[in-house]
Amino acid sequence: MRRWPALIGVHLALGIVAVATLLPFLWMLSASLMPAGEASQWPPSFLPSRPTLSNYRALFHRLDLGRCFLNSAFVAVVSTALALLIVSLAGYAFAKLHFPGRSRIYRALLTAMVIPAQVAMLPLFLLLREVGLVNTYWGVIIPALAPVFGIFMVRQYALSLPDELLDAARVDGAGEFTIYRKLVFPLLRPILVTFGVFSFIGAWNDFMWPLIVLTDDRKYTLPVALANLIGEHAQDIELMMAGSVLTVLPVLVLFLALQRTYVEGLTMGGVKE
């Protein structure tokens, strides 16, 4: 019986943290449905007096944010699809195929992760300028196509694939690429789903690099467009909130739909080492 106070205390604390976590999202959603000017009235109200979609209409019709939404979707989908192919090939090779220098190359890759991406940014920009990739989607996509953490994730998972299975396929005369395509790729599915979600969310949310590469506002991804919008529309709180909802909605939905795979993948790095 003396458990009751502890039970209530713990749930109360959990509840308070949950409210603090959700409140910014709830206010964002609520303010996005307010008529223009209502979020900056005194006394302020939490809920819209007359909910309206006019802010969302303005985003799509007047500000052409629908285009930026498609830009973001293109960048995130294409970079995820290509990264899946590149990372699964490399991760599988580092785990299961014997070749000279394998462990040395792999260790060098892991060590390189200490170098922050910012060190490469200025030279990379000059390089992209030389090859004409500044202000293109490919300039955003290509430099991020071989993330080392993805290779690490796939390798850790691929280590558990049974060697007998691969050997049996070899004895049957299958080539190495056929083995990868027909046997390994399907077996890696769970980890590839996890990595795919990671990659999509990362690409969708990325800000600094697209900000540097994209100079034409018709090519902006949503985060860049939103950061740009606040320069001119800082007073239009309701409009900015609608833009924020539009930006976070796809990743939030994806996370809620696939949260189990996502969270499991997250703990791999910390626990398995």
Partner: protein
């Protein structure tokens, strides 16, 4: 040589060729788009590469350590460095502490709806930083902001969160902790679940209270996760950029939230002082490297 041996060696040669072929796309991309730029970055940092050199490479000159000398004489650089350390040294430990507390709460034996709480706490992690920074900019509004309204209920405030140089960095820290504590929490929860419940039962039978259980069972079990979380959080916090870009118009007020990365961005990409910007990036790298080594060394020393 036996037929089987010949077969095996030709097979292993085929396997080696396939292995090298499979890692080639990844290695080529990393070499061209990361290794080469990093090396060039080191070289650029020793030149006065600027907007004219972008047009005509021949105008760039070798200046040796000149950029670093100029950097160390620039008070704005020291301001940015100080701000970044403020953010890392206050925000980092705060984030880890909140994550650990949240993990202990969520993982407590009596708790119902564990999955639900975990999901809620994790939601800010996956959401777009630019968007939540926009939202928090308004939450911090001195007059209409939700935060000051809540403070007013308690008779406090109003605080000019993002307009007052003393409060701007605490405001950025609060938002950053809100955004990322769920990430570390998940890692701590995984660590907690790897500790068998029977150990705790044995400790209880021996009369160990909650604090002693935490101190002598939970913390040692979490040691590997603490190292991982400590390094990851520190590295991430050193790269502060988006929050000041969106919330304080690039590092205001009075440079109170100007970070090292923001300083590099302005020098390199806004004013095209590319050699100088590359030197700033190099300093950031050295600091992160030193911080990582110190954390790993500290953990090793304690074992």
């Amino acid at each position: 040589m036996s037929a089987a041996g010949g077969y095996r060696s030709s097979r292993s040669r085929r396997e080696a060729r396939a292995g090298l072929a499979f890692i080639t796309p990844a290695l080529a991309l990393i070499a061209v788009f990361f290794v080469v730029p990093v090396v060039v970055g080191f070289l650029l940092a020793a030149t006065d590469f600027d907007i004219y050199a972008v047009g005509d490479l021949a105008t760039a000159r070798f200046v040796g350590l000149g950029n670093f000398a100029a950097l160390f004489h620039d008070p704005v650089f020291w301001k940015a460095l100080g701000n970044t350390f403020y953010f890392v040294l206050v925000g980092g430990p705060l984030s880890v502490a909140v994550s650990l507390a949240a993990a202990l709460l969520v993982n407590a034996r009596l708790v119902r709806f564990k999955g639900l709480f975990r999901t809620v706490y994790f939601a800010p992690v996956v959401t777009t930083m630019v968007a939540v920074a926009v939202v928090w900019r308004y939450l911090y509004h001195p007059r209409f902001g939700l935060l000051n309204q809540l403070l007013a209920l308690g008779g406090l405030g109003p605080v000019n969160w993002l307009g007052d140089p003393r409060w701007a960095m605490p405001a950025v820290i609060l938002m950053a902790v809100w955004k990322n504590f769920g990430y570390n929490m998940i890692i701590f929860v995984a660590g907690l679940q790897s500790v068998p419940a029977t150990i705790y039962e044995a400790a209880r039978v021996d009369g160990a209270g909650p604090w002693r259980q935490f101190r002598h069972l939970t913390l040692p079990a979490l040691r590997p996760m603490l190292v991982f979380v400590g390094v990851i959080t520190m590295v991430g916090y050193f790269q502060l950029f988006t929050e000041p870009y969106v919330m304080t118009n690039g590092g205001g007020p009075l440079n109170a939230t100007l970070s090292i990365v923001m300083y590099m961005y302005k020098q390199g990409f806004r004013w095209w002082n590319i050699g100088f910007g590359a030197a700033v990036a190099l300093v950031l790298f050295l600091i992160i490297l030193a911080g990582t080594l110190v954390q790993l060394r500290l953990q090793k020393g304690r074992e």
